[in-house]
């Protein structure tokens, strides 16, 4: 299936001389949830801005649904709904008016029934006649999502959707994103909450210092880069590691109550059998054991810290 968004060698240097993007190429598949991860200032928002037409690229091309986003901007932009990071709302307008405005702006004929459904999905319907200035921060964020959905976009950009949002609202937003994906909307979200990408995404791209460092299926990424830890709860605490066990990747933790063994899941031999045999030979017994997969966060920190 051809990509719904194809970013090809896009670069951006701001007038100040700041290089925000260095030849970024990226394909987004229709219907997927793509998470763009990166530290602050990595170029996430610039990249979204260029795709959506808010920022002029210094070089490269972007096509959306096969339409060049500069020469065929009308067709390209019609497909996209954008929820930017900053809360920016028409404070004096009512919820209903501002969402209806968005639909009109994108050239769609009025459809009150659709607007009603969007507002209901976002739990805003009760407040439809309220002025935006009277809403809470979380509600304003949802108003911005409603505006982005008002013209029935095939692609939804969510730039840091859950920054500064409470846990309950974050959960309900994740729920909404899944529902949208189920009806075929492609979703691109940026976040620096690893947990969010881990929870939501089908694929993950990591951007750092204006370059895409990696793009991978989430599960594959965790498997490929993942290290695992084997944690043994000892029957008797140890004061120090016995010399015969002083091998790499084995440390004593929890005041001598635990042994932690780190191994690579990609390795041909994990060394677990050998370790257990050695423990037994040394007379060290344990009452419990468990393993832990390294999280995306560990992987991410490893990538952007220049490993």
């Amino acid at each position: 299936m051809p990509p719904i968004i194809a970013v090809s060698n896009v670069s951006k240097t701001y007038a100040s001389g700041l290089v925000a993007l260095k030849g970024v190429s990226l394909d987004i598949a229709p219907g997927e949830i793509f998470a763009l991860l990166g530290p602050n200032g990595a170029g996430k928002t610039t990249l979204i801005g260029i795709i959506c037409g808010i920022v002029n690229a210094s070089g490269g091309t972007v096509t959306v649904g096969g339409h060049d986003n500069v020469t065929e901007y009308r067709a390209a932009r019609s497909l996209i709904g954008l929820v930017p990071q900053e809360l920016a709302t028409d404070t004096f307008e009512t919820v209903w008016a501002t969402v209806s405005f968005s639909r009109g702006l994108f050239g769609k004929s009025p459809n009150p029934a659709f607007i009603e459904q969007v507002l209901k999905d976002l739990s805003l319907y009760e407040r439809r006649h309220s002025k935006i200035m009277t809403l809470s921060g979380g509600m304003k964020r949802r108003v911005m999502i409603a505006k982005a959905l008002a013209h029935e976009p095939q692609i939804l950009f969510l730039d840091e959707p859950t920054a500064g949002v409470d846990v309950e609202l974050r959960r309900s937003m994740w729920e909404l994103i899944r529902k949208l994906r189920d009806v075929g909307v492609t979703i691109i979200l940026t976040t620096h909450y690893i947990e969010e990408a881990e929870e939501m995404a089908d694929r993950i791209g990591v951007i750092n210092k204006g370059e895409i460092v990696l793009v991978e299926e989430k599960a594959e990424l965790i498997r490929k880069l993942g290290q695992k830890q084997l944690i043994l709860d000892l029957a008797q605490p140890l004061a120090a590691l016995p010399p015969e066990l002083a091998r790499r990747n084995l440390v004593l933790a929890g005041d001598g109550q635990q042994l932690v063994y780190t191994y690579d899941t990609k390795g041909e031999h994990t060394g677990i059998t050998a370790l257990l045999n050695e423990l037994s030979a040394a007379g060290i017994r344990f009452k419990d054991l468990n393993t832990k997969q390294s999280s995306l966060e560990d992987i991410f920190v490893g990538l952007v810290s220049g490993k």
């Binding site: 701001y14 007038a15 801005g49 959506c52 037409g53 808010i54 920022v55 002029n56 901007y73 009308r74 067709a75 390209a76 932009r77 019609s78 996209i80 954008l82 930017p84 900053e86 920016a88 709302t89 028409d90 404070t91 004096f92 307008e93 008016a97 405005f101 968005s102 639909r103 009109g104 702006l105 994108f106 050239g107 769609k108 004929s109 505006k147």
Partner: protein
């Protein structure tokens, strides 16, 4: 053309105007009444006819122009500056709508409002002095053309300004003085010849002269020249708006 988008912007701007209806209608009406009390009755009684027109009636076209110019600039500049200030401009920039369409919605609404205000001032003036309009069609034509031109000019100011102070500078320091010096309250023929020549560099002279001609059939410069100057300024503003959206000046980084 994304006509629905144009209409959405137009409607949005008109709704903003409805919210501030009281101050936007009452204040020009009050200032018109004040001008008539001061110039028409108190001072105007001592002034002889100006170009064969009673002084009270003579100032009516100038007062309407004053209202049109200041309101067109103020409304259109605020209309585009405020979304930039709030950050809501992102939505307009990411929508499938061209720069000229955005300008059309925004400028159309600002011009509509100042035309309405101009007509209100005209009606208010009618309470004080008898008004016979010699060329009603030309009068409406000048009114509409001026409202559109200066709304475009205001739109450009709203794009150029990066703070609220700059938004006020041009209307206060340029438009209002040029209107007063442009013959709103006198015929430029009462000036010494040297100043008459200087005045001809003031574009507002042509607007007021042409507009006054449509009322009383008297003019400082020929109505054809007035029309040409207005059209010329309009074209300049259209070109500037086109350039703004082509380059993304102050709108896109």
């Amino acid at each position: 053309m994304n006509w629905r988008g144009v209409y959405a912007i137009y409607k949005f701007e008109m709704a903003r105007m409805r919210r501030t209806l009281l101050q936007s209608v009452v204040s020009p009406v009050i200032s018109t009444v004040l001008y008539f009390v001061v110039f028409g009755s108190a001072i105007g009684g001592r002034i002889t006819d100006m170009q064969g027109v009673s002084y009270g009636a003579f100032i009516v076209p100038g007062l309407i122009m004053l209202t049109i110019l200041t309101n067109s600039v103020a409304n259109a500049s605020f209309g585009i500056y405020f979304p930039r200030f709030l950050g809501t401009i992102y939505e307009i920039l990411s929508a499938p709508i061209s720069g000229l369409e955005i300008a059309l919605g925004c400028v159309g609404a600002a011009a509509t409002k100042s035309i309405i205000l101009g007509l209100i001032v005209l009606a208010t003036a009618g309470l004080f002095v008898p008004l016979d309009i010699a060329h009603p069609v030309a009068m409406i034509g000048f009114l509409v053309l001026t409202a559109i031109t200066f709304s475009l000019f205001g739109f450009l100011i709203g794009i150029w300004a990066d703070n609220f102070e700059k938004l006020q500078v041009i209307p206060l320091l340029v438009i209002t003085p040029l209107t007063f010096l442009g013959g709103a309250f006198y015929s430029i023929h009462v000036l010494p010849p040297a100043w008459q020549t200087v005045t001809l560099f003031n574009p507002i002279v042509y607007l007021i002269s042409g507009f006054r001609w449509s009322f009383f059939n008297v003019a400082d410069v020929s109505p054809g020249v007035s029309l040409a100057m207005t059209a010329g300024f309009l074209s300049l503003c259209v070109l500037a708006v086109y350039w703004v959206f082509r380059t993304g000046y102050r709108l896109k980084t």
